[in-house]
């Protein structure tokens, strides 16, 4: 068969790569962000990211809101584990105001934060399974994620965007039903996690898909500002809970799982191990909470009259409580001036809050240090030279959550 040649006009360049738009609406991207990939056959030559599809101007809105009204904004950053963001914000406010929370509050906060970490890692790991073709694991663990949502619902009323806790503690004491649900979770979940691990960890196809996909060395990861499980999979054991303990984390005994190559398989294993460690922390915290007896067992917030609403019976009978209630609701409390940077170990890494107050009623500047935004930059380096299917796996194993990338 003779060949047919196409006569191109003078000076035109023949493209050797294909541009593929792994667009904002795509079943494999978890949230709205776009990758424009240049492919040479099936190998990725370059990747350009476009984000900002869910940018909601939180930093500008926060300049107009008093401190307690900013908590719902922090919910919507990493919405798979919103209690961690809420607690991080409360810790920042408490640092600015100089509030010290009682131990029982700290332990209850630890329980809530570790439950959120388990919830986030469950989603990430099961979605890595879905993206490599195994749907069963995802649906199976979702049933136990529902239990976590029910525990949060008992405490604060909502499941996803929790707005849990207040400056100084919690809005109400944990009732018996919440503790019963926590006990059910602690009893039934370990077996489920073991089954989930058996499904994936030594599965031949899963290992072949994930091992070697998107590796990163420890120095490159540190240079890119990675924190959290992505950094620990590369071999650096940096965890904010251990380095700068907050909320009484120093009272707990737990290990930090660390990987070696930083590829998707290591990230998967690190997240699984972190779930086991979180379970152990929750058990220790629950035991410590049960040791409080009598009046101490009723403590659920610190004494911060300027920021914590007084109980309603006091508002109707005592003068000071009435005045504080009015001032808090009408937003007439002025913050002390100062600048504070405080961070917590979120499920994806170090979630930081940089708060500048000029003595007014609302922050002068609030900046969120979002781990998802920072490590998404590395996506091009992680996928250069890899195949297209590896790009999908790398994206889901990095645990990119659009709310956190964009804010």
């Amino acid at each position: 068969m003779s060949e047919q040649h196409i006569k191109l006009p003078e000076g035109s360049i023949e493209k050797t790569t294909t541009t593929l738009n792994l667009g904002p609406t795509h079943p494999a991207t978890h949230g709205v962000f776009q990758n424009i990939l240049e492919l040479d056959g099936e190998r990725i030559v370059s990747a350009e990211q476009t984000i900002g599809y869910i940018h909601r101007a939180f930093e500008k809105i926060a300049e107009r809101r008093p401190l307690y009204q900013i908590t719902p904004l922090t919910d919507r950053l990493n919405y798979c584990s919103s209690p961690i963001n809420n607690m991080g914000w409360h810790l920042t406010c408490e640092k600015l105001l100089g509030v010290k929370t009682p131990k029982r509050v700290d332990y209850l906060r630890v329980i809530i934060m570790e439950l959120a970490r388990i919830a986030d890692h469950l989603i990430c790991n099961s979605i890595v399974g879905v993206d490599s073709g195994a749907y069963t694991g995802f649906l199976y663990v979702m049933q136990y994620r529902e239990l976590i949502y029910e525990i949060w619902e008992e405490v604060c009323g909502s499941r996803l965007t929790t707005n849990i806790g207040r400056i100084g503690g919690f809005e109400r004491n944990f009732n018996d039903i919440a503790f019963q649900k926590l006990e059910k979770f602690l009893k039934e979940y370990p077996k489920v996690l073991e089954e989930f691990e058996n499904l994936f960890t030594r599965n031949r196809i899963f290992m072949e898909r994930l091992i070697g996909a998107g590796p990163i060395s420890a120095e490159r990861a540190l240079n890119y500002g990675f924190t959290g499980p992505n950094l620990r999979a590369a071999g650096v054991d940096y965890d904010v809970r251990v380095h700068s303990p907050y909320s009484s984390y120093e009272d707990f005994k737990f290990d930090i799982p660390v990987g070696t190559t930083g590829d998707c398989y290591d990230r998967f294993l690190v997240r699984n191990q972190e779930m086991w460690q979180s379970l152990s922390i929750i058990e220790q915290a629950y035991q410590k909470v049960q040791e409080f007896k009598g009046a101490e067992a009723e403590v659920y917030h610190a004494d911060v009259p300027e920021y914590y609403l007084p109980p309603k019976q006091d508002v109707y009978t005592k003068m000071e409580a009435l005045i504080w209630h009015f001032k808090i609701i009408m937003g007439e409390i002025e913050m002390p001036p100062g600048e504070v940077y405080s961070s917590v170990e979120g499920a994806n890494g170090e979630v930081g809050y940089y708060l500048i107050s000029d003595g007014g009623r609302t922050p002068y500047r609030l900046h969120f240090r979002r781990p998802g935004f920072i490590y998404y930059q590395a996506f091009e380096e992680l996928t250069k030279g890899a195949m297209l299917s590896d790009a999908i796996i790398v994206m889901s194993s990095l645990n990119l959550i659009a709310g956190e990338v964009d804010a």
Partner: protein
């Protein structure tokens, strides 16, 4: 060996003996201001020094102070020494009419998107940045939204009545500089409401 804030202060003052560096300490974190042309020199010194070892860039952001003429935009770097667990805050001030700052992307790859975000929100021009485009807002936007002079909401809308529900207009939250006070404070001549 845990390096103390005083030690960092001393090393910085020795190394940059000719330049004016203002140190403050807020909530345990040392924070210092240096002239903006020295930002790369300071960052490189903090990175390379074998005792200071500030090799992790936690965050870059900007703050707008409209009242400080000639130094309205501040670019704030948060650095972290992971081995000794010490954090430090480094600020530079730049004029809003010529907000040129040298980019830190040569030293930290993490600075790439952080500087794009700072450019997007405040208009700080990072000299030498490989791809200084808007990142979170639409490319066609021609103003820098987080500067204090831009209001939170789009003023061109005619369908929302902000006088209701205590929003905007004469009732609102905010500091006295950026927003109005409550209705009672605005009504200084005791005229009461206008009946339409």
């Amino acid at each position: 060996m845990k390096i103390s804030n005083d030690y960092i202060k001393q090393r910085l003052s020795e190394k940059f003996a000719g330049t004016q560096i203002d140190f403050t300490e807020t909530y345990g974190m040392l924070s210092f201001v240096a002239p903006k042309d020295m930002n790369l020199k300071v960052l490189n010194f903090l990175f390379d020094d074998e005792e200071l070892k500030f090799r992790f860039l936690t965050d870059i952001c900007a703050v707008h102070y409209p009242d400080q003429k000639g130094k309205e935009l501040a670019v704030v770097y948060h650095l972290h020494n992971l081995e000794d667990n010490v954090r430090i805050r480094f600020k530079i001030f730049t004029d809003i009419n010529q907000p040129d700052v040298y980019t830190a992307t040569g030293l930290f790859s993490a600075a790439n998107w952080m500087e794009r975000e700072t450019y997007d929100f405040y208009g700080v021009n990072f000299i030498g940045h490989p791809n200084l485009k808007r990142i979170l807002n639409v490319d066609e936007m021609d103003y820098f939204p987080l500067r204090k002079e831009y209001p939170l909401e789009d003023q061109s809308r005619v369908d929302k009545d902000d006088e209701m529900f205590g929003r905007g207009g004469t009732i609102g939250f905010g500091t006295e500089k950026t927003d109005h006070g409550t209705l009672v404070e605005m009504d200084k001549n005791n005229e009461g409401d206008e009946i339409i």
